[in-house]
């Protein structure tokens, strides 16, 4: 059975490597360094889930979320960010995010959220 594909959009190498450590055994991971790159990948890829940072160069995470939801309305998106504000979380959920995980996260937090949304 093929592994579910997860698209990870984060500009930080350390974070991308962290996701690799946590998820690579059970999932197939694709990486984007910024919003435009992620949107480009989505044109030819149908991932089961997307992990998205908020503060990134070129495009704000919430703007990326809007575009993703336009292109793939059913794709679950988890926001993973260092900006821990209630307003930001509410805004993200309003725009259709499936979950909101603040950094620094625990690996089991990520594993649990990802497992639930890729069932």
């Amino acid at each position: 059975m093929p592994k579910p594909i997860i698209l990870i959009c984060d500009d930080e190498e350390g974070i991308r490597e962290s996701f690799k450590l946590i998820l690579a055994d059970s999932y197939e991971l694709k990486f984007a360094h910024n919003g435009p790159e992620a949107l480009e990948i989505l044109k030819s890829l149908n991932p089961s889930l997307m992990l998205l940072d908020i503060k990134m160069p070129k495009m704000h995470g919430l703007d990326i979320l809007k575009e993703v939801k336009k292109a793939k309305p059913k794709l679950p998106v988890i926001i993973v960010t260092g900006y821990q504000s209630v307003e930001m979380a509410q805004e993200a959920l309003k725009l259709g995010a499936a979950d909101y995980i603040p950094k620094p996260f625990e690996s089991k937090q990520i594993l649990k959220a990802v497992a639930q949304l890729t069932k």
Binding site: G14, S18, I22, H33, P57, T81, Y83, Q84, F105
Partner: protein, 543 residues
């Protein structure tokens, strides 16, 4: 049975006085000043209401003596509460000798109560005057009267000397007007000590209640106009104007009525032109008088003196600055949290997987690289933050601007070459400026690096220096041909932690802004997306 007008006046005035005291207390009951003002109002009401009842001559000797003793109870506590109010209003320190006088004054009031209610040595009965009954002085009354008058005069003296002190130190500030108004009001309260004369048989009318009423007017005015005692009442102009209009209308109707009576004997044919003439005059005068009265009301109630307005403006300015600082701190904290949480996440995850993957050499290599990089990054953020939050003072010395720029650009030679950035220097002036060379070099370096990073595919960096001889300013313009700044980002470009770059803390331009300001200069940025950016710095020339 008829109640004399004086009685009614004293009673109403006493009740209004008590009402104002309660109102002041309710508005800010935790404030000591409001509390002592309330105590003062209670004391003066204890004096005024029984005085009103006594002058009605409605009661027998026993009740009259009881009322007379209540009058003196109020009188005994007026000086200490008065002095307490003055001390609190003037914010005198606890160590001030006025507090010793205050304690003595309270003690005297308590002693006099013992003699007042335990004997007839202070109030021995009552005098019967044409306008009403009045308490009769006992044998100890003169001592008490002297003490009371001395305390009141001491309070007035304190107010007067402090008023001059405030004028000298703060100018005609809001506090000056506040103290001045209350000072005038309290002078009237002190004048009411003249009512002691009736205790000794002087038969003229007691003026105390009128003095207290005058004091009340001063207090009302001080509260409405200058928000004294921390009370702010919003009087709506429209309401005041409506009341005014009603009063004018009533007056006009009264005039019309009186004139109507005056011409009542005339025939219809005779009276009509007279009535029309009078109405025309009234109509013509109505508006100008109304406007004039409105202007006067504006002046009395709504327009504040220029000194007060300027000090209030200054306060507002400080509040805005404080709020800006708080916003900057909030931005700083949010940015800092984000910048640090990312490396923390990586370090945490790698540490978590260390026991499980320790034998994997690839993991160990990554661990070493990622953790070292992230720790360096946190260290760099902290260093920059310290630089940002506690920048050292500038040491301004005459420096050649050209020298500062060239030395900075030399540091970037390799960087310019590597990024295919062509440097164009356009030094139209070579001024000597007062600068902290190290800090100014840091500022230029930050801008140059920013510009180079904005041109990943190469471009041109133009450094222009010019002078504005009229304004004695030096202008430095640093222009690149990079991807520019989005219009919505322009207002935030100097905010701490604001960054759109893949790498960078967002503190670089904030530091530049701080350094330029410390040199007495200004920095602005002009940019359009995909059309490059231009930073213009103006620095003051040497006078």
């Amino acid at each position: 049975m008829s109640i004399p007008l004086f009685s009614v006046f004293s009673l109403i005035s006493g009740l209004i006085n008590l009402g104002l005291g309660i109102f002041v207390l309710i508005k800010n009951y935790k404030n000591r000043l409001n509390q002592v003002y309330f105590a003062f109002c209670v004391s003066s009401t204890l004096w005024m209401i029984p005085i009103g009842l006594l002058s009605s001559k409605l009661f027998d000797d026993k009740i009259t003596l009881f009322l007379a003793k209540i009058v003196f109870t109020g009188v005994a506590f007026m000086p200490p509460t008065f002095l307490d109010f003055v001390i609190n209003l003037l914010r005198l320190p606890k160590s001030d000798k006025a507090n010793v006088v205050l304690r003595l004054s309270y003690l005297c009031a308590l002693f006099s109560l013992v003699f007042l209610w335990g004997s007839e040595k202070i109030i021995s009965g009552h005098h019967s005057y044409s306008w009403g009954y009045y308490p009769k002085a006992g044998i100890l009354h003169p001592i008490n009267s002297i003490q009371i008058i001395a305390t009141a005069l001491y309070g007035d003296f304190l107010m007067f000397s402090q008023l001059n002190h405030i004028k000298k130190t703060e100018g005609k500030s809001r506090r000056y007007y506040e103290v001045k108004l209350i000072f005038f009001g309290l002078i009237f309260i002190s004048l009411s000590a003249s009512d002691f004369l009736q205790n000794y048989g002087a038969s003229f009318f007691p003026l105390g209640p009128f003095f207290v009423t005058t004091f009340l007017i001063f207090m009302f005015y001080a509260i409405f106009k200058h928000e004294v005692l921390g009370i702010s009442i919003v009087l709506k102009r429209s309401l005041v104007y409506s009341i005014l209009l009603s009063i004018i209308t009533v007056i006009y109707f009264a005039i019309v009525y009186l004139i109507g009576n005056g011409i009542g004997d005339m025939t219809k044919a005779q009276s009509l032109p007279v009535v029309l003439f009078i109405l025309a005059i009234i109509t013509l005068l109505f508006k100008p008088i109304e406007r004039k009265l409105q202007r006067q009301i504006d002046k009395i109630l709504f327009v504040k003196p220029i000194d007060v307005l300027s000090s209030e403006n200054e306060l507002l300015k400080q509040e805005v600055q404080k709020s800006d600082q708080m916003k900057a701190v909030a931005t700083l904290a949010a940015g800092m949290a984000h910048e640090i949480k990312n490396p923390l996440t990586s370090i945490r995850t790698f540490a978590e997987y260390l026991p499980k993957k320790y034998d994997d050499p690839e993991f160990r290599d990554k661990f070493s690289k990622i953790v070292t990089d992230e720790v360096d990054r946190v260290n760099n953020i902290v260093k920059q933050l310290l630089e940002f939050s506690k920048p050292r003072e500038v040491e301004l010395k005459p420096e050649s601007l050209r020298g500062v720029l060239d030395e900075t650009l030399e540091l970037l030679n390799n960087n310019l070459l590597k990024n295919k950035v062509e440097l164009k220097k356009d030094y139209r002036a070579t001024p000597i400026i007062r600068a902290d060379k190290t800090q100014l070099k840091q500022a230029f370096l930050n801008i140059f690096l920013n510009s180079i990073q904005a041109m990943p595919g190469g471009g041109q960096l133009t450094v222009l220096v010019d002078e504005d001889k009229v304004k004695n300013k030096t202008l430095i313009s640093i222009q690149d041909t990079g991807y520019g700044i989005a219009p919505e980002d322009l207002p935030h470009i100097f905010d701490p932690f604001f960054s759109k770059k893949e790498q960078g803390t967002g503190l670089g331009l904030s530091i530049v802004h701080g350094i330029v300001e410390k040199h007495g200069g200004k920095i602005v940025v002009e940019s359009k997306l995909k059309q490059g950016a231009k930073f213009i710095i103006s620095l003051p020339g040497i006078p």
